[in-house]
Symmetry: C2
Subunit: 218 residues, 2 copies
């Protein structure tokens, strides 16, 4: 049992927070204001284990923080969380910098020469950013065995090896096989992980099924 923080109250945040409760953790869901209905509803779902709070309170709550906010909002959310509440913590960055403001398909607000993962790491040097899980639909993130006997690939990257080992352990509790969690190196690999999204969206569009992932074959 551990304490886990989840920033963001959307599908991804709720899915990950729910899985962490199922695994026996205490979880605080963070949102911009304390009266966020989805966060209140999460807190009411499992009294004693599920909590809600502001981004700052949720970040202060634990040593492991999932960033499940929309990519365009992430840097502001982390500013609201406060540098002191983030210092030395592990941020599992699940987000994608998808910009829907010009309609479909979305573009990436940052890519090619940088990535959201890198921008977060630059803005918060004392945070241990580990990019993870952003390459699948949230249902697969927490239940990889839903498809292909769980035998498919996921990626992590970040500058802190110890933090990556901890994130790997978390992913394994979600059902990911150790052999299928590929460490791509430092946080600059977030570029590749995020730039995969346009392909991911087209595969979804072509197959009409978001419950897929890729498996590395060699």
């Amino acid at each position: 049992m551990a304490k886990i923080s989840v920033l963001g109250t959307g599908n991804v945040g709720n899915t990950i927070a729910g899985k962490c409760i199922e695994l026996g953790h205490q979880v605080m869901m963070g949102s911009r204001t304390k009266d966020n209905e989805k966060a209140l509803s999460f807190a009411a779902s499992n009294p004693g284990n599920s909590f809600n709070g502001t981004f700052a309170e949720a970040s202060a709550f634990s040593e492991i923080i999932f960033n499940c906010t929309q990519g365009l909002a992430t840097l502001d959310v982390l500013k609201a969380a406060g540098e002191d509440n983030l210092k030395g913590k592990i941020l599992i960055d699940v987000s994608n910098p998808l910009d829907f403001s010009n309609g479909m398909p979305p573009t990436l607000s940052v890519c090619n020469t940088s990535s959201l993962g890198e921008e977060i790491q630059k803005a918060f040097p004392d945070l241990k950013v580990v990019k993870a899980l952003n390459t699948t639909w949230c249902g697969i993130m927490v239940n990889p065995r839903m498809i292909g006997d769980g035998d498919h690939s996921t990626f992590i990257c970040g500058n802190d090896d110890t933090a990556k080992q901890e994130v790997k352990a978390v992913l394994m509790t979600f059902g990911w096989h150790e052999k299928n969690i590929l460490d791509l190196g430092d946080i600059t690999a977030a570029r590749g992980m995020e730039m995969y999204l346009p392909l991911w969206l087209r595969i979804w569009g072509a197959t009409k099924n978001g419950a897929f992932n890729v498996k590395i074959v060699s």
Copy 2:
């Protein structure tokens, strides 16, 4: 037996041209000048079936043209080939707009709001551009059975359905299973196919093995 043109004399061009010869086709390899040593050597390798010529001569040679030039040079190459030699033809665009001018990792010279595939289609509206095969190392392109019993995924996209069917047929002669050739839709999907490259390069870096591909699991 058909006539096939291959623009480009690098590893990709040589691999694809060689495969087409092996399949019994007549192949002309195009290069900037007619005295290109690699193209001359290809032409000498299989007299009567293998030929060399300028980009213009190679484009005039057949109805199916593989673009195996470096992405940054492609538009200039096609200008040299000449609009009249390209009109109504199928261009199988295998290239990636990788820019190594700022060192490693390469960036993409076009991405996010467009792609090389789209730029080619815009510049040559009478050409039937089909993006294909750009997501694997060339050894796998022409010999998918090299890994995982050939059971892994490749993508095509383009605006002309008949052209895509022809390209699919070509890919099947290379060893790709029909079920594993996913049509992602119109040429704007080239964005996703090309933006996958940074992830592909990091997977290669992490596994130290370029002979891999991804398989869609659902």
